[in-house]
Every structure is written in structure tokens, then in C-alpha cells.
């Protein structure tokens, strides 16, 4: 096995172009497990740990450009205000050791349907900055997941960063696991309210071959909030609307039975999480509205 250690981003891109089968390694919390369990025998490992650009982030006007290798711990510490959904999800990843190493770029690279970054990225709205020696493209995150543990990267491409829309309203993330830490999601749900555009977005984890948005549920809720004038009225979401939203979220999933849980439970849990997170975000929205009016 060859071990390449580029010192700069340009060298990394050149190395990936030269060795398209090279496996990038950032935090290594997925790659090393696969190697240790012999699920993967890469000919070439491309170590990104010396490429300092990947560990930085920039907070812009509308988005956060999050370097691919920024560990979860940093997201939790530094980006809770801009990316509240992602920060909530980051808290649920593994253990302190894993959060110190693991990254959103790695989560995207692995593209597991159970990856905890995905629901909040889908709900917030994000684009993956995929770069090769040929150039840069921004891939909307919903188009990034192409199958179980497959993504839209070309063989010569690396993830430079993720551009994530800064929160313009409340966001929530919920994950069901059968213990309180170090657990792979049985299923997960992310919800973001976007008062600026009067829309809502969602993300479902671990309940379909890829992370997905609950499109029909989003459309229904966006329309219902508009029709009932809820964005301005300061009223709570009627239970019937919340229930239908929850049912539509569950209907957008296509879960399976496996050792971690049954398909029926996953659908049920999504319904519960959708209803609860809607309640929490809407309460927060109303609270913010009220305090904004008072100010």
C-alpha cells in the first residue's frame, strides 16, 4: 500500500488525478475501520491531514464554507449559531474521540445512509465543493448521494468544502439509537424553517438507501403555513397539520428491517420525530418573533 502525504491542496489534487483509485483519508474514523476489518484494501492512501485549508471555515453573508476535514468538535464549539442543525447532529456522533477526528467531509465521502451530517445538510440547504485538476463544481447536496455508500464524486475529485446555508430560522435534529452514545442511527430526522423564503426543508437519515428530503412533506407544510397565515399570525401549528406533515415524512422514507430496527418502527419513529421537531422549531420561531417585536 502506498501512502501519499501531500502538503498542499494543489499537490493533493495532482495526486488524486494521478492515482484515481487512491482513497483519501481525513479523520480516518471510517477508513481505518474498513482497513482494520479488511473490508477495503486500497492500493494507495491519500492522507489529507497536512492540507491545512481543509481544517478551516469561513462564515460568509449567506453560507458557511466548511472545510472538508473540520472535525465535529469544532462545528459544535464554533458554529452552533450559524449551523444549529449540523451542530446538534455533530453532538450525537460517536464519542469525544470520534468527534475530535471525524469530519463532515468524511461523512460525505463515506455517504452512508446513516451518516448524521446528512439530514441537517439537506434541511439547511448545502452544496458540496468538488474539485479536481480539471476545475471546481458545486453539487447540491441532494444530488450528491447516489446510492448506498456511493456519491457523485468523479474518481479524480476531492471534497474541498461544503457550502451550507446559514440558518435564517430555527433548526432541529433528532436521532433514534438504542443507547445514549456511540450508536449508529436507527433513523434520524432534520428540520429547518426558512422564514426568509417562507419554506421548510427536511432531511431523513437511515430510512432509505440514501439520505433524502421528504419532498411532499415539505411542500405540504410550506403551503399549509402560507395558507393559514401562520408565519405572521403568531399562532401555533394546528395539530392536524402537524400530523399530516408527520405522516408525509414517514411516507417519504423507504426503510428496511435490519439488526438495528424494523422498517415499521423506523416509519413510526420518523413520524414522531417530525411532529416533535416541528413543534420545537415553531415554538422557537414564535419566541423569536415575539422577542423581535418586543425589541
Amino acid at each position: 500500500m502506498d501512502f501519499l502525504r501531500p502538503a498542499t491542496w494543489e499537490e493533493a489534487l495532482a495526486a488524486k488525478a494521478e492515482h484515481p483509485t487512491a482513497v483519501p483519508i481525513a479523520g480516518g474514523t471510517d477508513v481505518m475501520v474498513e482497513i482494520n476489518f479488511d473490508h477495503r484494501r486500497p492500493d494507495v492512501l491519500l492522507d489529507l491531514n497536512r492540507v491545512v485549508d481543509l481544517y478551516e471555515w469561513e462564515v460568509g453573508e449567506e453560507t458557511v464554507r466548511l472545510g472538508a476535514a473540520v472535525p465535529y468538535t469544532r462545528v459544535i464549539e464554533a458554529l452552533g449559531r450559524e449551523l444549529p442543525g449540523l451542530a446538534l447532529a455533530a453532538r450525537t456522533v460517536g464519542s469525544p474521540q470520534i468527534r475530535n477526528r471525524g469530519s463532515v467531509g468524511g461523512n460525505l465521502g463515506a455517504a452512508s445512509p446513516a451518516g448524521d451530517s446528512h439530514p441537517p445538510l439537506l434541511a439547511a440547504g448545502a452544496e458540496v465543493e468538488a474539485v479536481s485538476v480539471r476545475g471546481t463544481r458545486l453539487i447540491p447536496v441532494e444530488e450528491f448521494y447516489t446510492g448506498v455508500k456511493r456519491n457523485a464524486l468523479a474518481p479524480d475529485e476531492l471534497i474541498r468544502a461544503v457550502h451550507i446555508a446559514k440558518a435564517d430560522g430555527p433548526q432541529q435534529f433528532s436521532k433514534v439509537g438504542t443507547r445514549n452514545a456511540m450508536v449508529i442511527a436507527v433513523c434520524a430526522f432534520g428540520l429547518a424553517l426558512h422564514p426568509a423564503t417562507r419554506t421548510v426543508r427536511t432531511g431523513i437519515g437511515s430510512a432509505a438507501p440514501t439520505p433524502v428530503r421528504a419532498g411532499t412533506a415539505e411542500e405540504f407544510l410550506t403551503a399549509a403555513l402560507e395558507e393559514e397565515g401562520l408565519w405572521d399570525s403568531g399562532r401555533t401549528v394546528p395539530p392536524s397539520v402537524a400530523r399530516q406533515f408527520a405522516d408525509l415524512v414517514a411516507a417519504c422514507a423507504s426503510p428496511i428491517d435490519d439488526v438495528r430496527g424494523s422498517a415499521a418502527y423506523r416509519r413510526h419513529a420518523l413520524r414522531v420525530m417530525a411532529r416533535r421537531t416541528l413543534g420545537w422549531t415553531w415554538d422557537e420561531y414564535l419566541g423569536n418573533e415575539r422577542s423581535a417585536r418586543c425589541a
Binding site: 476489518f37 433528532s174 445514549n180 452514545a181 413510526h268 419513529a269
Partner: protein, 793 residues
């Protein structure tokens, strides 16, 4: 000689003065916490080879052909062994029944059964070579439960059985069956005002010890072998290893290596014989270490069980009778299934007075993973069921569940279903009273002052699944009974060697036993005993090995009792010898040498009223006293095969739990808020260790209640052999565990002590489930309880 990272003697010097009853710190504690302790997986020998095991991917298959030529041809490979290469006619082993092939012979009976061995100069080379062994399997129908095991056309897991149970079992796929009949259950049932029945199920729990199976075999010049190994009982291993190698026992020298937990999972052999065979074949040291995945196939698990119970009671709350049938799945090989059957049956009534019982317990041979010893050993499964029954009975009578239990609780003098009289304290009602009297944890702790929510205090924790919605509190109680020591007539002795000498003017005791320190703290306790008995401060604990007699197993909550007893007994012999020497040398100096009761204290010989007669240095001079002694507890006897009557157990131990849980009833997620325990330990030799044992056992019981289970497919293959999917409690799942320790001496035991390790594992599980039932109103007949069970999905 090249072996490194083997245990060295630990000397606890003059800064440690604690005798029995004091919470002296463990000599291995700091090393283990700082990561410096040498475990068996750290063993190293220059020039060593690495062994690897090829295992069956199928649960039941015929081996049609086996071709190792491609593996042998791989550079770096020194040996490839199959059944045909075994050196003698002894090709099977087993704790009680020698039914386990060292390597599969023509047929595999469970997923992961060892088929071939490879030794190579690098672990990766060994693994790759093993992958090149061509095995052609023809899959056979699988036996997975009682119905498939005893069906008319059921394949026999072991044909032509001749073991000592084969004559009395109802079917060759039944390893052992033990009925117990006492009184007249039919007649008593007619007196009952209420009768409740229930069917219960316990999933397959794993010991999940953190240090995987590991050892190093070094061939010796005399044709023998030195084996450094993590095990629970050196001499039981030795008895099984030597005949397969064709060596006399004295040529197989075993030394205990650092053991990273056991919980029963190291009672059976894993890689011991394999490493020795490879070492003897290649003439080179061979190390074998399982990884986590392999470890799930490398040891037996807790028997899954189905249990049917019937209890009756009168209106005033007295239990009339109990009938039960317990079916344990022993998997493909016997391991300790017969003894587990003995425990499950004899302890099936729980710590209650029930005069009329009709009991049957049996273990099956199936193609599921082999099951054997695990903390609680047959008593865990029964306790889950009888405690559920107690709650059902109390509910049927409209009584408080704790009061109902107290009304029927056994006490000293009670008669077990086996006819054995419980002849030492049995404070069952008192333990229940104490655990109920403990202060309750506060409610709704997640609500913080500012109206915010602390999700860490809620079910789901940081996963942020509820801010209080759907959360209901429940409280549940349970109590259990566990035997201590090996039962049913087993000669359960231990051996200790104690040396007393003066080094640099100070008396030093050296304690040498073959006791496996697996984390229980035996080495700490042995030093405490030596200090108390010999009045010294400096004690050296020699590494455990087979140069001293057997210490028996580190299991059945027995080591402090039995090897502790042996150390005490031997120390007393050493003391006698000191006094003899003293009398001979100095007897004329003071009349008290002849007349008074003499003790050893603070390095001196003193009279019972404290007068100093001489220093140990003066008495011993440069003579060393060195004595090895065996020690036995009271004998037991086998259970009658038809009636189950017999004084089968050495001692009983009792613990009670109160569980407080918050259940998210919509999502089916459980947070155990607190798990309080009260236990009688007779005498706490080391109070800190006692609390540690109780908290550990309690946590393992919590794991069985809400998460731990090995899942098998319908083809009997293991579906979750990893810590990714076999979940054990993390520290965030472990609640505060307040412990109330009661010390009522058992006059038959050394210092009055009672084995501690297992009892807390029993009642923890049913207490948690009772609390979940209280919160949800659901029947919950099975553990572990999954979110699906709580949400009907």
C-alpha cells in the same frame, strides 16, 4: 528468554497496610487506568509466529473437501493444520463432556467453528493464507429450537452419545434435563385463589469482555510447551490441553497473562490448544489474538431461554405452588450446559418459600452458537421470569409488589425446592425493605430553571428525541438468589502457597496461587488476608501459574471464598509454624509462649492481651517458612435425577434492586434514571471492591434488560458480531447506582463472607423491566426490550 509483557510479581509495600475489611487499592489499578498494564494481547516473543483460525461460514454443514495446498505454498507460512494433523487420538475437549473437536472433523455444527489453523511470520500473511484454504461445504438443515431439535426427523447434533447424561435425557439433542419435584403442586394449586401463568424469553447475551482471547505458546527444549494465556482457570485448561498434545501435564507449563475481563466467557478453551499445536509443529513461539469480530465466535454466550411459569396464591398473599419449565439453548457443544441446567432448575423458585413445586429445566443441542458460563449462570434467566410472575401475582391480588414479595420471602432455615435447608442468613425481606427505603431520585430533572430542557437527563439523551413529550416514569423492584461456588458434588477446592521470610530486617509474605485475576480484585484480597493473618505489611503476590496446585475457577462468585479461604488456611499453618519456631527458640524467655493465645500483629508475636513476646525477625532469623495447602468448603451432593433432591449448593447470595426509569412511550426509548441495590455480602473483605462488583453486575443486568443481544439468522448465523451492533451500556447509559451493603456473617464461610459477583446481575434485569412495565402498562415477556416492543411496531 525472550518472552516479554508477562506478569511480574506485585509487591505491596509498607505504604499499604490494609487488612481485611479495608478498602485497600488494587495493585493493578493504576496500570490499567493509564494503559500500561500488559494484557495477553500485548505478549511478545522475538522470532514469534502468528496463528490464525479459519472458521466455518455456515452453522451446519458437511465438509466435503478440504485443500490446504495453496495456503501452504504461500511464502511466510510455516504450518497449516487440520483435524487430520492432530497428534494423538484425543481430538475433542470440553469442560464436562468432551464433545468439542479441536478442529472440525467432516462436519461443522455452528457458525464460526474452527476448521483449520495457519502459522505465519506476520498476522496478515496468516490471514491471507487462511483465505486460500479451499473448503467445500454441503449445507445441512439447521436445528434452532426445541421444536426442530426434538422433531421426529431432527438431525442429531451429536450421534452416538456416551456421556454421563446421555442415558437419562429424553432425546439425544437434549444435553441434560433436571426435574425437581417437592410437595404436591396439583393439590396446592387447588388451594389457590389466583393462578397466574406466563411465557418468558431471554435473548442471547454476550460477556463482551474488552480483552479479546489471546495467548502465546513457546515450545521448550524438553519437548513441552510454555503457554502464557488469559483464562479463568489454568488447571482446567491444562487438563484439556495436555492429552490433545500428547504431553504429560508437567510438560505443559501455564502462566496467567493479563486478563481483560471474563464473566464466564473464558471458562472454555479458545485458542489454547491451537497455539500449542502450531508451536510444537513449527518449533517456534506462536501468538494468537482474536480481533473483536472473531471474539464473538471465540467464546460461549449466555444461554437464551424460553420459560413457562405458573404460580398460585391465596387471597391473603401466600404463594401456594409453582410449576415451571425452562428450556435453555446450549448451541452446538455442551460447554457447561449441564451445570447451567442444575442452577436454573434449583434456583427457579427464587428466594421465596414455596413448598409445592414441579420444575423442569433442560438444555438443548442446536446449531446456534454454543452457550455456557456467564455471570449469573442459569439463575439470570429464571430470575427474569419468576420476578415478572411476582409482579403479576401481586397485581392479581391487588397487593403492593414489594409487600407481596416480603410476605413470601425466605429467611434462614427455609427449605429450597431441592430439600436443602438454607442454613445461613437469608435476609430477603430486609433487602427489599432497604432498597425500597432509599430516597427516590427527583422527577423531571431535565427541566432547568429558565424553562429550558437538559436533554442529557431525558431518554435519548443528546440524540435530542424528546423535550419531555411522551415521557413517563416507572419504578420496579426485583430480588434474586444465586448460589456461590461449584455445586452438585463437585470437588471445589483451592490451593495456596504462602512463604514468610525476613528480608532486609522486615518480614515479607509471598502468596502464590493459580487463581486467575480477571479483574475481580482477588490479588488485592489475598494481600489483605495475608496481612491480617500474618501481621505483616509487605506482601508479594506471585503471578498465577501451574507450578502451584489448582485454585479452581474464577467464576461462580467463588474465588474470595475458596482461594481466599485457601490463603487464609495456609497463612494459619504458617502462623502455627512461626509459633512452633518461637516456642523452640524463645519459649523459655516468657511463660506466655506456653500458656497464652498468641497472635501475629505488626510484625510481632503478641499475646491476646497485647503483650509483645518477640519480633518476627527474631523468631525466623534467616529461615523461611514455605507451605502449600489445599482447602475445601463443605461438600455438596448431586441432585437426584428424578426428584431433584439433594444438598447441591455451597452457599446462597441475595441482592435486591429498585429501578427507576423514564420511558419515552411514543418512541420506545428508555432511560434508566437510577438502579439502587441492596445486597448481603456476609463480610465485605474489601468494601470498595464489593461496591464495584455490585455496580458492574448491576450494569451488566441493565444491558440485558434494554440492549444486549446476539442475533442469529434463520440459518443460525450470527448477525451482529461487532461492537457496532452488539450494544453494551456506555457510561451515559449507566445510571447512579446507590448500594446498600449488608453484612450478616455466614458461619460456614471464611470470615463469614458471601460471594458477591453474580447476585447483582440477576435482579437488575427484572427490576428494570418491571419499571418499564409500570411506565407503559405493557406485558413485556422478553429481554432485551426493544423500541419495537414498546411501540408495537
Amino acid at each position: 528468554m525472550g518472552v516479554t509483557r508477562t506478569p511480574t510479581p506485585t509487591t505491596q509495600g509498607s505504604e499499604t497496610t490494609g487488612g481485611i475489611g479495608e478498602s485497600t487499592l488494587r495493585p493493578d489499578g493504576v496500570l490499567k487506568t493509564t494503559g500500561e498494564f500488559a494484557y495477553a494481547s500485548d505478549l511478545w516473543h522475538e522470532d514469534m509466529l502468528w496463528g490464525h483460525t479459519l472458521r466455518s461460514p455456515h452453522a451446519h454443514a458437511e465438509i466435503v473437501s478440504l485443500d490446504v495446498s495453496r495456503a501452504l505454498a504461500q511464502p511466510g507460512v510455516y504450518a497449516v493444520l487440520t483435524y487430520d494433523d492432530l497428534p494423538t487420538d484425543v481430538r475433542h475437549y470440553g469442560l464436562e463432556i468432551q464433545d468439542t473437536p479441536v478442529l472440525a472433523h467432516g462436519r461443522v455444527r455452528h457458525h464460526g467453528e474452527p476448521v483449520a489453523l495457519v502459522a505465519a511470520d506476520h498476522p496478515e500473511t496468516a490471514r491471507r493464507a487462511a483465505a486460500k484454504i479451499r473448503v467445500e461445504y454441503r449445507q445441512l438443515p439447521v436445528v434452532v429450537d426445541e421444536a426442530t431439535a426434538t422433531a421426529p426427523d431432527a438431525p442429531l447434533i451429536h450421534e452416538g452419545r456416551t456421556d454421563h447424561h446421555s442415558g437419562h435425557v429424553p432425546h439425544p439433542n437434549v444435553v441434560h434435563r433436571q426435574p425437581i419435584v417437592r410437595g404436591d403442586a396439583d393439590a396446592a394449586a387447588r388451594r389457590a385463589d389466583v393462578i397466574v401463568t406466563g411465557d418468558y424469553e431471554v435473548g442471547m447475551q454476550d460477556q463482551a469482555f474488552l480483552g479479546p482471547e489471546s495467548g502465546l505458546a513457546v515450545p521448550a527444549e524438553d519437548g513441552g510447551v510454555d503457554l502464557y494465556i488469559a483464562t479463568q482457570w489454568l488447571h482446567a485448561d491444562l487438563r484439556q490441553i495436555a492429552p490433545v498434545l500428547g504431553l504429560p501435564e508437567e510438560k505443559v507449563r501455564m502462566t496467567l497473562s493479563g486478563v481483560g475481563g471474563a464473566f464466564g466467557g473464558r471458562e472454555d478453551l479458545s485458542m489454547q490448544i491451537h497455539a500449542c499445536l502450531l508451536a510444537l509443529r513449527t518449533g517456534k513461539p506462536v501468538k494468537m489474538v482474536y480481533n473483536r469480530f472473531e471474539s464473538f465466535f471465540g467464546h460461549v454466550h449466555r444461554h437464551p431461554a424460553t420459560l413457562h411459569y405458573e404460580h398460585g396464591a391465596t387471597r391473603d398473599g401466600k404463594i401456594t405452588h409453582m410449576r415451571c419449565r425452562i428450556v435453555l439453548d446450549g448451541g452446538a457443544y455442551a460447554s457447561s450446559s449441564p451445570a447451567v441446567v442444575g442452577n436454573a432448575s434449583s434456583l427457579s423458585a427464587g428466594p421465596y418459600v414455596i413448598d409445592d413445586v414441579d420444575i423442569e429445566a433442560l438444555a438443548l443441542y442446536t446449531n446456534n452458537p454454543p452457550c455456557g458460563a456467564m455471570r449469573g449462570f442459569g439463575a439470570v434467566q429464571a430470575c427474569f421470569a419468576y420476578e415478572a410472575q411476582m409482579d403479576k401475582l401481586a397485581a392479581a391480588l391487588g397487593m403492593d409488589p414489594v409487600e407481596f414479595r416480603r410476605l413470601n420471602a425466605m429467611s434462614q432455615g427455609a427449605v429450597m425446592p431441592t430439600g436443602q435447608v438454607v442454613d445461613s442468613p437469608a435476609p430477603v425481606a430486609e433487602l427489599l425493605r432497604r432498597v425500597k427505603a432509599m430516597p427516590m431520585p427527583p422527577e423531571r430533572e431535565w427541566e432547568s430553571a429558565g424553562g429550558g430542557v437538559d436533554v442529557r437527563a431525558l431518554p435519548g439523551g443528546l440524540s435530542n428525541t424528546t423535550h419531555g413529550e411522551g415521557v413517563v416514569r416507572g419504578v420496579g423492584y426485583a430480588v434474586g438468589i444465586k448460589n456461590v461456588g461449584f455445586s452438585e458434588g463437585f470437588d471445589d477446592y483451592s490451593t495456596a502457597r504462602v512463604r514468610l521470610e525476613v528480608i532486609a530486617g522486615e518480614p515479607v509474605a509471598t502468596v502464590h496461587t493459580a487463581m486467575a485475576e480477571v479483574g475481580q480484585g482477588g490479588v488485592t484480597v489475598h494481600a489483605q488476608i495475608a496481612r491480617t493473618e500474618l501481621g505483616v505489611t509487605q506482601v508479594t503476590i506471585d503471578p498465577a501459574d501451574t507450578r502451584v496446585g489448582s485454585a479452581g475457577s474464577t467464576s461462580a462468585s467463588r474465588q474470595t471464598y475458596v482461594t481466599g479461604g485457601a490463603v487464609r488456611h495456609t497463612c494459619q499453618a504458617v502462623r502455627e509454624r512461626v509459633l512452633e519456631l518461637g516456642r523452640a527458640k524463645l519459649g523459655t524467655h516468657h511463660p506466655a509462649w506456653a500458656t497464652a493465645e498468641l497472635l501475629l500483629e505488626s510484625g510481632k508475636v503478641v499475646t491476646d492481651d497485647g503483650e509483645v513476646l518477640a519480633g518476627l525477625a527474631e523468631v525466623l532469623g534467616d529461615e523461611a517458612i514455605d507451605i502449600e495447602r489445599e482447602w475445601r468448603h463443605r461438600p455438596t451432593e448431586p441432585f437426584d435425577l428424578r426428584t431433584g433432591q439433594g444438598r447441591g449448593h455451597v452457599q446462597y447470595s441475595f441482592a435486591a434492586h429498585r429501578a427507576v426509569v423514564d420511558v419515552d412511550t411514543e418512541l420506545g426509548l428508555v432511560k434508566v434514571v437510577e438502579l439502587a441495590c441492596a445486597q448481603d455480602v456476609g463480610k465485605a473483605l474489601n468494601p470498595l471492591s464489593v461496591v464495584g462488583q455490585i455496580q458492574g453486575g448491576t450494569t451488566q443486568g441493565l444491558g440485558l434488560a434494554v440492549m444486549e443481544e446476539i442475533l442469529v439468522s434463520d440459518r443460525a448465523t450470527v448477525r451482529n458480531p461487532s461492537f457496532t451492533d452488539y450494544l453494551i451500556p456506555t457510561i451515559l447509559d449507566t445510571p447512579p447506582i446507590p448500594v446498600d451493603v449488608l453484612e450478616l456473617a455466614d458461619d460456614h464461610a471464611p470470615y463469614g463472607l458471601r460471594g458477591v459477583g453474580e447476585a447483582p446481575t440477576l435482579s437488575s434485569t427484572p427490576a428494570v423491566v418491571a419499571a418499564i412495565r409500570a411506565a407503559t402498562g405493557l406485558a413485556l415477556r422478553r429481554v432485551p426490550v426493544r423500541p419495537e416492543n414498546l411501540t408495537g411496531t
